[in-house]
């Protein structure tokens, strides 16, 4: 399953709940959630720990809009909107963690 997260990790419990609950699969960070996968963000350690269970992706246009295109942490794949579409078609289902 593809898990889509759109909330900032330091402002909302969404990331924690997804990491703790979801059985695995792909996670895509969009909108304000892209801050989660930037170097130095307090969420960095927990995402590194989650990499065994989940494959992490980030929507690059959202990362660049926020001035953090050069801060992507290692092990996270950047995608454009086309890549976002591919993630939804390659997974049988997707869930937006709203």
């Amino acid at each position: 399953m593809l898990h889509i997260i759109n909330q900032s990790p330091l402002n909302s419990s969404t990331l924690d709940t997804c990491l703790n609950t979801a059985a695995g699969g792909d996670i895509l960070f969009i909108e304000d959630a892209v801050y989660a996968v930037t170097k130095g963000n307090a969420a960095e350690a927990k995402l590194k720990a989650a990499m065994g269970k989940f494959k992490l992706h980030v929507l690059l246009p959202d990362l660049e809009a926020r001035g953090l295109g050069d801060r992507l942490m290692d092990g996270v794949t950047g995608v454009d909107y086309g890549g976002f579409v591919d993630l939804t078609s390659n997974n049988k289902t997707c869930q937006s963690w709203l």
Partner: protein
């Protein structure tokens, strides 16, 4: 593939309508069909024909209208959510239609994928 998209927030206040639009455009460019976009909750506010954003900003409503016209995307606004928020035929933008929640469920049933954008 056949896609359904759900938009739960109004234009400008949240990014969700922008994300949904750019996703829809990319899906079409990849050769997929965007069968229906369903506007729910404050998402119904995407359907007002009265918006006038600043000249140097994107026009979110017109973008949806254009997408519907060029790619036969069915833009459906939930009638119950719309009445609560003051969206009616008299202020409805071109390319949108008002209908019931059954249209959302139908999208879930008939589409290969349903992608939700919200807050």
């Amino acid at each position: 593939m056949k896609y359904g998209i759900v938009v739960n927030e109004g234009p400008y206040q949240h990014q969700s309508s922008d994300s949904a639009y750019l996703f829809a455009k990319a899906a079409i460019e990849k050769g997929h069909e965007v069968w229906r976009v369903f506007f729910y909750h404050d998402g119904v506010n995407n359907a007002t024909r009265l918006t006038e954003p600043p000249q140097d900003d994107r026009h979110i409503v017109n973008r949806w209208t254009k997408l519907a016209e060029e790619h036969k995307v069915d833009l459906v606004v939930c009638v119950a959510a719309a009445l609560r928020r003051g969206i009616k035929e008299e202020n409805l933008a071109q390319g949108f239609r008002i209908s019931g929640l059954g249209q959302l469920v139908e999208a879930g049933i008939k589409c290969d994928r349903l992608v939700t954008f919200g807050d």
